[in-house]
Symmetry: C2
Subunit: 673 residues, 2 copies
């Protein structure tokens, strides 16, 4: 070892090496592969490469010695400290020079691959490693004696200043390159996708870029604009899916396509326009424009996925429910007529099967059951309930046709979860008197001030979680029997049990409107919960298990319901109550992970390929489980004939026409079973 | 060797191997890597895999034996013979079964990599190997028990039926895939680009695909629509460049941009619209539409190249003449707003330097001087003369500012090469009387019936080749002296020598209009030819040679002039006359090569990178050569001061403004030297 070399040790990585005196710390870090961020390439501009100098004495050759031999702070560091409030004990590693043995600590916020800690302790953190990176460059000016293209001198700078090679470039970058280089006086920041392609160029130093993760639901579209460098969510926003004017639910939208040639194009246009409007709103909050969004990821159910991509969803409307593709899509804004940065890169997560969409792929990525030993059941409840079951060895997926009852549709007093909707219910088992809470108020209906607290909305109806609670409470109070019948004998005990022709109902709220739970309402929920339960059981059969380790409920409904009541009603397989948790908007989280971590994209592609797809429609066991699960909570033995006729809920999809031309105008309902 | 195996020998490749009886010939060929074409994948549909059975007896183990052991023709072959006129001695190699030893001859028209023989014996043939291939597939139908995307079953078929793997697909293909598969009853033909990406899908069997090679000139746009499988030129067509309304020549178009903000976009739109109209016309002749064009290649000078690509050409208008990029571009029709098949792949050849464009790259690809031992000078004469000089060891390129004189501009009676233009001239050295020929007539002006033969046009002017000839003939007749002066003393000998103030002119045609060759005309051609010669000499200096092996003249002018007169005038360096040839529209041929042969694309990229770019503007030797070359033919020693003041021709480009904002409206002329 030459006398002029010094030992440099980086913590926390522990990487170390010998370097000549005079080596900048950042250069030493690069040589050793130590993860220190930098955009400006060591020009003392971006301030991302901050480090701390190790303190205290360390032994070397058995002798205690000082390990803090760095150059004094110079002009650049002092200016940065003054103008940008760099802490006094911090150094810019591009400016600090090794002058002897030194221990350098790289704080978490100076690493490229920072971690975003998610709130819930049960889920993994997101490692920030987006597919797009920024590089600040000083580009050589053109020289008539050695003619070369401006772009080729950008490549030269990327190679010399960043060791990035083998690049190609989008045409729109080439179109603005010459003016940008001259505007930036030959200093520019370029964005490079996958270390392969230059997708944007800005004059001077650009330090932040943004992306958006979108969860494209049938009803609502939710978008999270994130800082791609920090992972921070800048704006979360949403809007109603403008496709609603073509049909409230997926099935009616597919019908619309079948009945209206070109209807798919109308809906594609509608959702894309909605997304464009949403981006204008979201970026306005950040004093930016949609052109500042350079990355986007999308999840959605198969019909939403196909319509976003401009694919006619007709094939998803009838057996064999063939997806156009079950691959992820790497696209550009132009592919989807989206108004983002022209170089933006779009990643659409893959659909899993005809009824299990990219939203479920997002759930899988968020909850990562494939990394765990314990067998997890994840259910995303909507009009269909998409399910994942398994662990690191195997993952199965299916969709059960629960119908829209859980969302308050097909329920006499049902409504969406919105202010004025009953969401919590308790029934006194002695008096059969109810109390409830309404979205928008913290008070129970029997508490003082309740009427005042809801004076803006009144009590308008009952939402999904309210229905689950009222049914479970009715069951616990003995109002509902095992087979789901409302017990008319109780009419003598309480005037809330009312007679409707041949059946009975329970008066939950005697207001305007009156909110009753009818026998039909109970049947609708029985059908929905039986479908959900049967789907889960079917997957358990396939896996050869009769008990799941834990259950996660995802989606708005799944996050909102009290898991205890879900258990009481028998919506989900038996499981220790504390092992039943909410996963929140896991689909949206999955989109965010794909946005912020490029490796996760390959991960979800691999996982989706591995997932075993189960089509409930062709599984006889599904129907058997379904019949059994009609009981409350449910039974595993064959159940005696129910007192009312049970029809399985169908995927209420228009039948696929055998002759496209003539029958496309007709609308038929297909029933399965 | 098992008794049931047979020896199969393919000619002309000589490849051979043993195969079990019952093996289809095509399968044996594939195993051995014998080049037999097939689109339908052995389904007896496309008829591309035709072979002949070897005749006569061949010796095996020293014993003469029969080598024609194939199965009898079956239904498929007989039908193909009947319906498609397959010759009786031909077999479909996918249907013919090996039943014993056999010699199979693969005719040239059944090979994938056919050769297109070019007319000129001096140039290489084009090996047909386009970047796009067709594959006919039978795709498995969807199955609810094993759900998968339609696209993934297309990939499966490509792998199983064609051993093509690792593909991705354009979104527009996915958008039409489901209906196409069903329309084709699960048989489709897909087009795959570079064995990487599916870019088109058609129902059933599609046997032909087409591409277009475009030479984008400042004045005219020429397009050749080719069958990508055979290389055949289906339609050749052209139109005036619609940008002409913004300026006749390149310089005035660049000025237009400088004077009119957004002017580049207007011109980009104009040329793209022109290309779209041209494609409609061209494909109409073939009973097709532009959507049948799935590949396109473009060449053009740097300004045309930039405007096609939507790049502001302002930087090309002033020193240092920086290109935005000197790379080739792989694009899609959407990038350029071109109306072709949405999956079409566009290849734009690379520009070489600020004055040496993709058209010269096309010339290089066509003439391939880099493959030869002999040193070749290739000159493409236009407003500038682009030159390539070199051989397999080194290639140099430069552009000389010849100005538009060779194209008939700045010449008193000059006009474009069109009917009515004088193109050939002879002058009797005794009488000084001329005779000439006019485009549109085969007769000399002194022949009987000449007036009648040109009655539609009359004699309208003189085109580039005519000017060269008349000047050379004037020189040979002694009318022009060595220094270019028209000798006024001859006015006594012939009334055709006329006095114009202080100079003299030669009356070539006393009609309406009168066509005279003035002293200014001679000076304009002297300047042009001196620039051309000086550029060539400069490259020869750089290469350290004083003699070139051969000279090729490319472009319309270069192809049209009589090389003898070019030599007499001293336009080009001395060379044996029979070694001076025309290369025709070599730029367009280069575009066609790039269209039909994918390897040529990498070849031209590599060549352009290797070419040494010489900027004549910064080479003092260029000016020295230029002055010397003003003489007729030219001299290598310092030339005595010319009788009139010589100004070097400038690249008449508007000066680059130092302050973009304020000066962009001004138009200045810059003179060099």
């Amino acid at each position: 070892m030459s006398e002029k070399e010094a030992l440099v040790v980086f913590t926390p990585s522990g990487k170390r090496g010998h370097f000549p005196h005079g080596t900048p710390v950042l250069q030493a870090a690069r040589k050793l592969g130590v993860d220190i961020d930098s955009i400006c390439g060591g020009n003392g501009l971006c301030g991302r490469c901050q480090v701390n100098v190790g303190e205290g004495e360390f032994a070397k050759h058995g002798i205690a010695s000082s390990w803090d031999h760095l150059s004094e702070k110079g002009f650049v560091e002092n200016r940065y400290q003054e103008k940008r409030n760099m802490k006094a004990d911090r150094r810019l590693s591009c400016q600090a020079i090794v002058e002897g043995d030194v221990v350098i600590d790289v704080p978490a916020d100076s690493q490229v691959h920072k971690q975003v800690v998610r709130k819930s302790a049960t889920v993994r953190d997101i490692a920030i490693d987006p597919a797009i990176r920024l590089y600040y460059l000083t580009v050589r000016e053109p020289d008539m004696h050695d003619p070369s293209g401006d772009l080729e001198r950008v490549y030269e700078a990327l190679e010399q200043q960043w060791e990035v090679t083998g690049l190609s470039t989008d045409l729109h970058v080439i179109q603005v390159l010459q003016t940008t280089l001259r505007k930036g006086k030959w200093s520019v920041t370029v964005a490079v996708h996958n270390d392969e392609r230059v997708i944007a160029v800005w004059p001077g130093l650009r330090e932040r870029i943004f992306g958006v993760a979108v969860d494209l639901g049938s009803t609502t579209i939710a978008a999270h604009v994130c800082d791609l460098m920090s992972g921070e969510v800048m704006v979360s926003t949403g809007l109603m899916n403008p496709q609603i004017r073509f049909g409230e639910d997926l099935m009616s939208r597919v019908s619309y396509v079948m009945m209206n040639p070109g209807g798919d194009k109308e809906m594609t246009e509608a959702v894309r326009e909605g997304l464009n409007n949403l981006m204008v709103e979201a970026t306005k909050e950040m004093d930016m424009t949609p052109h500042d969004i350079i990355a986007a990821t999308y999840v959605g159910n198969p019909v939403m996925h196909h319509l976003l991509l401009g694919i006619d969803p007709t094939e998803l409307g009838g057996a064999p429910f063939a997806l156009s593709t079950d691959n992820a899509q790497d696209l550009t804004p132009r592919d989807l007529d989206l108004n983002l940065h022209p170089g933006a890169r779009i990643f659409v997560l893959p659909c899993i099967a005809g009824h299990v969409g990219a939203d479920t792929a997002g759930v899988a990525l968020s909850e990562a059951p494939y990394n765990e030993d314990e067998i997890t059941l994840i259910v995303d409840v909507g009009t269909n309930a998409e399910m994942l079951l398994g662990n690191k060895d195997r993952i199965l997926a299916a969709s059960s046709p629960t119908g829209p009852a859980f969302e308050g549709a097909q329920i006499s007093g049902g409504q969406r979860a919105a202010p004025g909707a009953i969401e919590r219910v308790r029934i006194d088992p002695e008096t059969l008197e109810p109390k409830f809470r309404v979205i928008g108020s913290e008070l129970w209906s029997n508490e003082e001030g309740f009427e005042e607290s809801i004076k803006n909305t009144g009590v308008m109806g009952i939402c999904g979680s309210g229905i689950i609670e009222v049914l479970a409470e009715m069951y616990l109070a003995g109002i509902i029997l095992l087979d789901g019948t409302i017990d008319g004998n109780l009419a003598t005990k309480s005037s809330r049990i009312e007679s409707d022709d041949r059946t009975f109902s329970y008066l939950l709220h005697d207001g305007e409107p009156r909110i009753c739970i009818t026998q039909n309402d109970v049947r609708a929920i029985q059908l929905a919960k039986a479908a959900l339960y049967a789907g889960a059981r079917l997957l358990m059969d396939k896996l050869g298990i009769d008990h799941v380790g834990k259950v996660k409920l995802a989606g708005a409904f799944g996050s909102h319901i009290d898991t205890k009541y879900a258990m009481i009603l028998g919506m989900i397989p038996d499981c220790e109550l504390e092992k039943v948790t909410s996963a929140g908007n896991a689909a949206g989280t999955g989109a965010r992970i794909a946005l912020l971590n490029k490796a996760s994209r390959q991960e979800i592609k691999d996982v989706v390929r591995k997932i075993e797809k189960i089509e409930t429609a062709v599984e006889p066991r599904f129907q058997e489980h379904f019949i059994n699960a009609m009981a409350i909570p449910h039974k595993t033995d064959p159940y005696p004939k129910l007192s009312t006729q049970v029809k399985m809920p169908a995927r209420v999809m228009p039948e696929k026409s055998s002759d496209e031309g003539e029958d496309s105008g007709r609308r038929r309902r297909r029933r399965r079973g």
